[in-house]
Amino acid sequence: MPIQLEVRAVTVAYGGNPVVAEVSFVLVEGTIGCLLGPSGCGKTTLLRAIAGFEPVTAGEIWLHGRRVSAPGQTLAPEQRRVGMVFQDFALFPHLTVAGNIGFGLRGASRAGRRARVGELLELVGMADAAQRYPHQLSGGMQQRVALARAMAPRPEVLLLDEPFSSMDTELREGLAREVRELLKRDGITAILVTHDQLEAFAMADQIAVLGGGRVHQWGTGFGLYHEPADRFVADFIGQGVLLTGTVVDDLRVKTELGRVAGTRPHGLPQGQAVEVLIRPDDMLYDESSPRRATVVGRAFRGAEYLYTLKLGSGTQVLCLVPSHHQHALGDDIGVRLEADHLVVFPV
């Protein structure tokens, strides 16, 4: 697969203050990447640099074999062949749905334009609404029009800037999956910017976790959750606590909750004091277990309860338990640690 987008050690700074610092990644054709991070991590700035709205201070951006950004050289956005879906959709209020979708098809013949607009209307399921105006559409419909408009000129890469942030939380994941299918069907290379990890998991093939302007980890959702590269990723993705322990050997660590074993060597010397990442799903409720913990907090999640448990040492851990097991605050319950992945950080 050819490389569609390459970001090489890109830094974007305002007045000497780097917002994006030496970020590099590569996206091959047809993949969906994601820039995931808390607000202020530089993800939107990076996206805007790829679109050509922000100049880069250092590094280069290559798009389909063409260098589009370098210090002092910024190819105009209109010459980059990037499509962009904006957070507020930015539909043109004076144009119909069809007019919006056809807006970027400059130079196309009348028939060619109509054919492409029809194709996209069909693709996003908006054929019935072609002659309506943006203000007559629901949020979800507006979003599909925004997507179709950005896809219409067949961009080299499609950039999505928090496209679901104005949607109801319940709808987001479903929409993300829906959009993913649309993009995959057309083999479109895309980058999604979001702070919502569930959205990122639902939509992206590859996720870059950004914090403080740099990429902390680049990988799949599964990898980020179970094998976070550093504390920042461990903290930002999913829930969990860090439990102190000591290295037993290259695969095992001893903690208050017993030994935890991984499948890959962690390379730390024996006896080294470490912290082990414990996910709520690593903690199992087991009445027969000799290890006890006190319930100090609980949150009902529908199918499960998320309990906060206090261990003998006073350390608190999280534990996910099917919701038909009800425990009151102050109850002493039996727990067992069962982790497939060992994530340790030296103290």
Binding site: F53, E54, T74, P77, E78, G83, A90, F92
Partner: protein, 561 residues
């Protein structure tokens, strides 16, 4: 009407590194050109003008300053009482006719001060209908009774107040409506009556807005030429004319203009400062239907009378008088010459309005693309003209154009032996340039307010879909701004139609506009004959007033909804 532009709810679109090209330098050059007249006038502060200035300083300068200050004092008094009082009554009280007055109080805005001055002179002069019937009724003879002299400084202050109070009315009305009702309610529950609440709470809260409105009215007062000239009150504007045409001294006229600009500058600063404070005086944003205090009996009648006076004397009576005069001479007045005059005045106003709109779009959009410090400063400078009196702009245009003409002429004579004479001075180009300097701000503010409501992501969407900035302007912004653009066109159009002093100075030989024609006829004491031209100006002036009152009615509907 500059005061109605809403602040932009969005931060300025960020400059993109790719928005290079001619926008930045072009805007700076344009702004400098538009600032040229003011710069020329200020520049003359450093040019010695010798005896003429000394002569002026010894003789009339003190009069100019005194009269201008007295006039401003009179207008302050008149517009404050009229503007704040009516604003309070219509926004906070309920009495018969309130809904009508809410918009009718704007009507006098359609009346240029010099036109109202002509009509009242015709009405109240010795030979006018009022004194004639008074004599017929009482049998008094000439000199046997006292009657107020219209053509006086007091008269001028009254005339100006009658047409300028709507500035104060509009801004203080908005302030009263924007005030948190809770604050007023709290005052009432603490045992203050409506009067006490007004003076101790509402008025202090609205003060910045009132001051902003007042400074606009005072800028217009300083800019007035037609009224004071007709009434023989020696102020700066008439003084500048006399120095230029009577004494033939360009440097002295420019220096007088610079002193006048100093007055204006103070007003601009006061206005800016008050406006900034006004923003912080909105104590709550809660939308709430206003519970208006209900007036009955003599109170209702008094409120009705108080609101009626400015509408009656500021619009109904003078408009009626003009209509009457126009009707009496209708058979002869509306000839082909008159319609030709109307036609080319309209063409001039429309052409200027279009140009102003174009420049406003370039400046406003350029500033959006490129909010660099230089560009922002340039756009602000280009928009300063609205505060500068037409007389000052005329002097500031005439001097450099004459200098340029002489330069071209000398060069042509030296090189080709041909004399080109006056190429630019005394042409429509000079006149239109002066109009643009003065009225561009009106278009610019309207356009910028409209642009401010377009989210920056619209620009970016257009760019990412393959359009250059100019194309995005044409295909996205202009269609979205249609309403604002029409308003801007209309406002400049009417302002040009009403403009008098700059037109008097700069018009080409034998070229007349309606305003100049009315002025000439009135100066010849042919007051009835000036009515058709004056009435046409007033009718055109009604258009923006209708726009304004419609927006007021709309906001009222929103209040009660």
């Amino acid at each position: 009407m500059s005061d109605l532009a809403a602040p932009s709810p969005y931060p300025a679109a960020k400059a993109t590194a790719t928005a290079r090209g001619w926008w930045g330098p072009g805007i700076t050059a344009l702004a400098l050109t538009l600032a040229l007249p003011v710069l020329v006038v200020i520049g003359f502060l450093f040019v010695p003008s010798g005896e003429v200035w000394q002569h002026l300083a010894d003789t009339v300068l003190a009069d100019y300053v005194t009269n201008s200050l007295l006039l401003m004092a009179g207008v302050t008094l008149g517009t404050l009482i009229g503007g704040v009082g009516t604003a309070w009554l219509t926004s906070m009280c309920r009495f018969p006719g309130r809904g009508f007055f809410e918009w009718a109080l704007l009507l006098p805005m359609a009346m240029p001060a010099y036109i109202i001055a002509y009509t009242y002179t015709g009405l109240l002069d010795f030979a006018g209908p009022v004194q004639t019937s008074l004599r017929a009724l009482t049998g008094w003879g000439y000199g046997g009774y006292w009657f107020p002299q219209v053509r006086s400084l007091t008269g001028a202050a009254v005339m100006l107040s009658l047409v300028l109070y709507p500035y104060v009315y509009l801004l203080s009305r908005a302030a009263f409506l924007g005030q948190s009702l809770c604050v007023l309610d709290v005052s009432r529950t603490l045992g203050n009556g409506p009067w006490r609440t007004f003076f101790t709470v509402a008025l202090p809260l609205a003060r910045p807005a009132i001051v902003a409105g007042l400074s606009l009215a005072l800028m217009e007062t300083l800019a007035d030429y037609g009224t004071v000239q007709y009434f023989g009150v020696a102020t700066f504007t008439t003084g500048i004319f006399r120095t230029w045409f009577g004494l033939g001294s360009a440097p002295a006229a420019a220096q007088l203009s610079a002193v006048l600009l100093g007055f204006v500058l103070v007003l601009i600063l006061v206005e800016r400062f008050s406006r900034r404070r006004a923003r912080y005086h909105h104590t709550s944003q809660r939308e709430q239907a206003i519970q208006r205090h209900r007036l009955t009996g003599w109170r209702a009648a008094a409120a009705f009378g108080f609101c009626l006076i400015p509408v009656l004397f500021g619009f109904l009576i003078p408009a009626g008088q003009l209509a009457w005069w126009a009707a009496t001479i209708a058979r002869t007045a509306y000839d082909t010459a008159f319609f030709a005059l109307v036609l080319h005045t309209l063409a001039l106003a429309a052409g200027t309005a279009l140009l102003a709109l174009l420049l406003a779009l370039v400046l406003g959009y350029g500033r959006r693309l490129y909010p660099s410090r230089a560009v922002r400063a340039s756009v602000r400078v280009a928009g300063l003209g609205y505060a500068v009196p037409g007389t000052v702009i005329a002097i500031g245009v005439l001097i450099p154009f004459a200098w340029l003409d002489r330069g071209i002429d000398n060069w042509m004579q030296a090189t080709f032996g041909v004399s080109t004479g006056l190429l630019l001075s005394g042409t429509l180009a000079a006149l239109i340039f002066a109009y643009l300097v003065r009225f561009l701000a009106v278009a610019l503010q309207t356009v910028e307010a409209g642009l401010g409501k377009i989210r920056p992501s619209m620009d970016e969407a257009g760019r990412s879909l393959g359009y250059r900035p100019g194309e995005v302007l044409r295909r996205v912004h202009i269609p979205m701004l249609r309403g604002s653009l029409l308003t801007a066109l209309l406002l400049v159009f009417v302002d040009v139609l009403k403009e008098l002093p700059a037109t008097l100075v700069l018009r080409p030989f034998n070229f007349n506009t309606l305003a100049v024609r009315a002025y000439e006829l009135a100066s010849d004491e042919r007051l009835a004959d000036c009515a058709p031209a004056a009435l046409t100006i007033v009718l055109a002036g009604l258009l923006p007033v209708i726009l304004l009152s419609r927006s007021i009615t709309r906001s009222r509907d929103a209040d009660t909804a």
